[in-house]
């Protein structure tokens, strides 16, 4: 199968930059594009040049006051004290010059990806600069200023009226998007993430199922620290398939954070490259089976920008083309170009070598616990399936 896919890209994506030492670094998008260029899988015709989102579009999710604050902060017109109420000027989301413009480009990029698929003749589209799922209506948090995913989904609802399934595989809970659509039955959110017991933001429990009309349209799989490929994929694949059948979406939006890898410095999951090819493979397959192919993929977290993110994100694009995942050696010229800039040795192959991390002592228990989480998360769907007579009796 060959699919027509669009790669949203502007070199200005790197303007979204907090500080030199800040873990969120959009150079990873440039590195991924370069990797795809050098692997010969990305042509100029496939590039979609994004636009800046308008204030009206950003205000589909964010309050006017918040947008004004971001603007003023980026022009150096506010003190940190004045911004703190909005989560700006913190260690996580410090003020930087022109932060409004940089953030609205990321939102515009997600909107461009959506239009390409829903209004254009693209099957799928990818915006690796987006997926900033922690942004709230009037608060920046977790490295996110504007929540491009949430704006995009509301844009889809208003422009196209489609039922949207949002699937978030970032190691952190996709809280901003979940809360934005918590009472909306037209949007189903599904997030698989490391349990919030220790990890930011702390939410994403199984019992967060939605509110009022939106009850039953929010799914969470909080998995244990040190979860490995097998258990991660068992939960992801089983839940995603069930949820698609249950919700019957018209379009799928995925957030593809690449921080569930064992090398990621901010999280404690133990995924390898294997999960980063299986995640988009299933999204691609289900989009074709259930949504006439309509699939928009976004980036997200990912803090080992040298060894993990470019490889993981390049696979999304490869799979989006309807091709098999990359295998074997990474392009030599890509390694030669980036190695001098990297503080660590870059990998030489697309996959991780076997036994690259210490064996996890409590693997069996973790697997068992995760299976229970899956069971309790899916209970709502099982109940509806297995008791049709009782359901109609009400």
């Amino acid at each position: 199968m060959t699919c027509k896919s669009g790669f949203v890209y502007s070199p200005d994506v790197v303007n979204y930059k907090f500080q030199e030492e800040h873990p969120f670094n959009q150079t990873r998008v440039v590195m991924t594009k370069d990797l795809l260029d050098k692997a010969g899988t990305l042509s100029n015709e496939q590039i979609i040049t994004p636009r800046y989102a308008t204030d009206e579009e950003i205000q589909l999710v964010h309050s006017r006051k918040y947008v004004d604050t971001v603007k003023k902060a980026g022009e150096g017109k506010l003190t940190e004290e004045e911004c703190l109420e909005f989560g700006i000027g913190t260690e996580d989301t410090p003020i930087f010059t022109n932060m409004h413009e940089a953030s609205s480009l990321l939102v515009g990029s997600t909107l461009a990806a959506i239009d390409a698929v829903l209004d254009g003749d693209y099957d799928h589209a990818l915006n690796l600069g987006g997926g900033l799922h922690h942004g709230f209506e009037r608060k920046a948090s977790g490295f996110c200023i504007y929540n491009d995913g949430a704006v995009g989904i509301r844009y889809i609802r208003e422009q196209y009226g489609y039922r949207v399934l949002y699937v978030d595989t970032d190691a952190h809970h996709g809280d901003g998007v979940q809360w934005a659509f918590y009472d909306d039955p037209g949007v189903c959110t599904f997030s698989i993430h490391e349990t919030g017991r220790y990890l930011f933001p702390g939410t994403g429990n199984v019992n967060e199922r939605g509110l009022k009309e939106g009850y039953g349209y929010s799914f969470n799989l909080p998995i244990d620290a040190f979860t490995e490929d097998e258990s991660f994929l068992e939960l992801y694949e089983s839940a995603f398939t069930e949820i698609v059948n249950y919700f019957q979406p018209d379009v799928i939006v995925t957030q593809n954070g690449a921080d569930a890898h064992f090398l990621d410095p901010l999280t404690h999951l133990c995924g390898t490259m294997n999960i980063f090819e299986k995640i988009p493979l299933l999204a691609h397959q289900l989009a074709h089976e259930k949504c006439e192919g309509k699939w928009i993929a976004l980036g997200g977290g990912g803090y080992d920008i040298w060894r993990v993110v470019p490889r993981a994100w390049a696979q999304i694009w490869k799979i989006m083309l309807g091709e098999q995942p990359f295998k074997g050696k990474l392009p030599e010229d890509w390694r030669n170009h980036w190695q001098p800039k990297s503080p660590v040795t870059l990998p030489s192959t697309w996959h991780d070598v076997a036994n690259s991390y210490k064996a996890i002592p409590r693997k069996q228990e973790i697997t068992e616990k995760n299976a229970k989480v899956l069971e309790s998360c899916m209970q709502l769907i099982y109940n509806q399936k297995n008791m049709p007579s009782q359901k109609s009796g009400h």
């Binding site: 873990p23 990890l199 939410t203 210490k358």
Partner: protein, 215 residues
């Protein structure tokens, strides 16, 4: 936290001569499990739980002949005297009352008049607030020697990084009483620099705290 900050003030209550049937209806309509019984001066004279009412209700196998039971006065089944608390009592005191008396609800009175109700659920809600888990944050656990001054020493490390603290809890360290475990929830997605600071200051950071794990 004070009881007056956590109590419910929209109280569903009954008089001693109201019928059990009435109580049953209120329990069902308002999804509550306890009803305080007051006199004409709004003084608490008793309390009934959903179990008291259920015990007094006819069996589902015996609905017809037993229906008269529900016509009895509520005072025939209410518990009395009633344990009450004051609006200026602390959440910890109410927790101890619930635990010691094996009950799940107490009326709040001021000058002998009913002004609020506190249930197990309100208590748990307050506990969630105290742990800070309802706010975005990362959790850090630190093992420290149990001595005066240790807490400000640790918290100044957070302060230097402008790291806002959502909550602080102190647990006993079971294997050795000389130590305590400090649990902080801090408002950041990137606790790494703070953890490094803590470690270089000589603190033992237990995180994530999984026994048998040394990654």
């Amino acid at each position: 936290m004070l009881i007056e900050e956590m109590m419910r003030t929209d109280i569903i209550k009954l008089k001693a001569d109201d019928s059990i049937e009435n109580a049953l209806k209120l329990l069902n309509d308002y999804h509550i499990r306890h009803i305080p019984i007051v006199d004409d001066d709004n003084k608490v004279v008793g309390i009934v739980s959903d179990r008291d009412v259920r015990d007094a209700s006819p069996s589902i196998f015996d609905r017809q002949s037993g229906a008269n039971a529900l016509k009895n006065d509520i005072q025939s089944i209410m518990s009395s005297p009633v344990i009450t608390v004051h609006p200026l009592d602390f959440v910890e005191e109410v927790a101890a009352i619930f635990y010691d008396n094996e009950i799940a609800c107490v009326p709040v009175t001021r000058e002998n008049k009913l002004i609020g109700m506190i249930t197990e659920k309100d208590l748990l809600y307050t506990l969630i607030q105290l742990t800070g888990t309802h706010e975005q944050g990362s959790q850090i656990e630190i093992k420290v020697i149990d001595r005066p001054g240790i807490l400000p020493e640790v918290t100044q490390i957070f302060g230097k990084r402008k790291m806002n603290i959502n909550s602080v809890l102190i647990y006993p360290y079971k294997p050795d009483k000389k130590f305590k475990i400090l649990v902080f929830r801090i408002q950041t997605m990137n606790p790494k620099p703070t953890i490094t600071d803590l470690q270089s200051a000589g603190y033992e950071v237990l995180w994530p705290n999984l026994p048998g794990m040394s990654l």
